[in-house]
Symmetry: C2
Subunit: 426 residues, 2 copies
């Protein structure tokens, strides 16, 4: 099929009629496919069922330091859980605080603390300022943006390039406006683009001058070990980079096992400098007597060490890779060369980012929904839910079966073409 | 031994010499006993070991509504967990939100939300006011007071009578000062007094006129099913009372299984009116994708229904009761009739509240600590850690063995007498 921009009016109309026929066919099938969120599939969850047997009534419940995991205490996690996450995140165990089941909660709470109390004892609570702004590389993760909206933090969208955020703009804005208090980053296999920040971007983030002394990089390392291929992307260690640059307190790192073990019952973690963690622990000690330590033990006993965890992740990849390949192959077959969309081929993570012609994403998502395929809301990957070019669609291939996925992507491709032709025809 | 107030100088000195000898004997034993917190004992934790086998790899992981508990979702809990807590708290399942492992976190977060956003869309965030105050029936739970301190909420101590807080004062203050935004209550087997609010107190709390329209009762029903004897105290349902009084949104109820299953790995719950829960859910949806549902399933499969849970609590009581009896019998034997202390005999809960002569509690706790017996910090049961009469000591008998407890209470009794005589002698 040729580039649609090269087609004349009649050819476009003929093409649209054919597509509409296909679309009507889908409508008659009364599909009900949900690709809206990056959820692991039941097959993936099955990989971790052994974890449910890792701590039974026959087992000892003491942590390596003698803590009875069943009882109160242990505000920031048991030593062996810290050690495991330290390996995953390439930091030291002393830089780790283990949380409950949700890293989103740890990010939300970190922002809430900064709003209420400031990032440390010497700084002004963000909530006392007339304006607080965050840099938001976009497309990005909608739930980060929702946290900003909740707290009334003004979001400034930053373009994403192939190697990470547009650093010229990031440096310029952060350097001139002291109401800019931070930046959201998913630095590895980014949500939704699936790209990994280059060493240069990491260095520039660590090194840049910020007008605000209490500027924080919210480093959501959600996909640290979530490779799809043998060619794992390598992310430069921002902890070391910040330390080397004399900005050791600049970065707060977050991660979880939500897409390693169970999405609903994993363990979450925050890594930060000693100074940041002391502030955090002080406030945590009022908020909780400690997170679920038995679940920490369960994880540590099941995964044991980083190499076993990496083998486990290879099993996830063997389930996910065919799904990503299917989507990418279908995009290539159905859309390539037509001038209607572009996409990236990620080496890891949970998403494929599809960019339609400008002004078509909302229409594609609407058409797909009417045909029974639920996608992430168009615009969701941008601050305030508004994609200025109305073109980005986040594809989440993990949950559906291959058969469902094939149907869903067929629908999406038809919707993309329909929306594109309608757009061109005006 | 006679009332010490009736003794002359010489008799007091002789008595003090004998006590000091006993105390020195304890010093030589280099004791190391911790009675500072209300932690379940290992024997109690053992009662719930079966819960670790309630969800294994051989079991189905679906909740009753078909939710896969291993995956994302289920913001406010699975239906069967809501149903179980609804029975415990005598509310409807629709009035329940299940949280993570800590009810303290749910209370902290409820206050944080009120500070940041107000109790609902129509009200002013508490944090925007020049002053926010809370009524704090005292002695009370130190961690409630720590939350107020963290958020800069001014605490007003309210005396505790035999049937609950001094309601005349509560009504007067709440009725005249609109900066008073709430009251902390542990209404059943209160921490530390072990008393249960009377029906009249519950009714007055539900019915009283509050100057602040956004006044909230923080109803920490931590010991709802934690009876020590067959004569369980009966607490009037404040939900029904508030509804009947036309104040359905006044109360936020909290509870957890921390002292039912595992203190570190239980499940927490908040119960509130539909209006309150809608506000809560809206903010929760930004903070988390949902709490640990597998742990909810584990609890529901282990406890099944309220009557089985009640049998389980009877087993806790059979371990706790001899400890409480030991403490009470020793107090009676060692302190009764001497005019040096008073105490209550609770029908449930985790504490015995000991009141020394005015001005002696700090000294008793210090003497005990020097002899190797760690007690809850004197004053901890009052706002700002200051007991105006310096007399209340919270005794937590649950964790030590009976033998350890016997020694610890011997030490405490000697310390109480020493401090009392020194006080009298000036």
């Amino acid at each position: 099929m040729s580039e649609i921009h090269a087609l004349g009016e009649t050819e476009l109309q003929e093409r649209l009629r054919m597509l509409q026929e296909k679309y009507d066919g889908f409508m008659q099938r009364r599909l009900k496919l949900d690709m809206s969120r990056g959820k692991p599939s039941p097959e993936q969850l099955q990989l971790s069922m052994g974890m449910l047997d890792a701590v039974t009534s026959a087992d000892g419940l003491l942590a390596s330091d003698g803590t009875d995991t069943r009882n109160y205490g242990g505000l920031d996690g048991i030593p062996e859980a810290k050690a495991l996450f330290a390996q995953i995140l390439e930091v030291s165990p002393q830089e780790i605080v283990i949380g409950g089941s949700s890293s989103l909660t740890m990010m939300h709470d970190a922002i809430a603390r900064a709003m209420l109390f400031g990032v440390d004892a010497d700084s002004t609570p963000w909530g006392k300022r007339s304006a607080v702004k965050f840099l938001c590389p976009s497309p990005g993760y909608d739930r980060h943006f929702a946290i900003c909206e909740l707290f009334g933090i003004e979001m400034i969208a930053i373009d994403m390039f192939d190697d990470g955020p547009d650093m010229d703009t990031v440096e310029r804005l952060a350097g001139e406006d002291d109401s800019i208090k931070g930046i959201w980053c998913v630095p590895k296999y980014s949500n939704p683009d699936g790209l990994t920040y280059s060493d240069d971007v990491v260095d520039r983030l660590a090194r840049m001058k910020t007008k605000a002394g209490d500027f924080r990089i919210m480093w959501d390392n959600a996909y640290a070990v979530h490779h799809l291929t043998e060619r794992a992307d390598k992310l430069k260690n921002i902890f070391a980079a910040c330390r080397d640059a004399g900005n050791p307190d600049r970065v707060l790192m977050f991660s979880s096992t939500s897409k390693i073990s169970f999405a609903g019952s994993g363990i979450a973690v925050m890594a930060a400098s000693e100074r940041n963690l002391n502030v955090t622990r002080k406030q945590l000690s009022v908020q909780t007597i400690g997170p679920d330590k038995v679940n920490q033990l369960r994880h540590v006993r099941f995964f044991e060490h980083i190499s076993k965890l990496e083998s486990h992740m290879a099993k996830h990849a063997s389930i996910l890779k065919p799904k990503f390949d299917l989507v990418l192959n279908m995009f290539e077959r159905e859309l390539d060369g037509k001038g209607v969309a572009t996409w990236r081929k990620p080496n890891g993570g949970y998403f494929i980012s599809l960019n339609t012609l400008d002004g078509c994403a909302v229409e594609v998502v609407k058409l797909a929904a009417e045909a029974g395929v639920t996608l992430t809301k168009a615009g969701a990957t941008f601050p305030y839910g508004t994609d200025p070019r109305d073109r980005n669609i986040r594809i989440a291939p993990s949950y559906p079966t291959l058969a469902e996925l094939e149907t869903a992507i067929e629908v999406i491709c038809v919707c993309v073409e329909i929306a594109s032709i309608k757009k061109i025809m005006g």
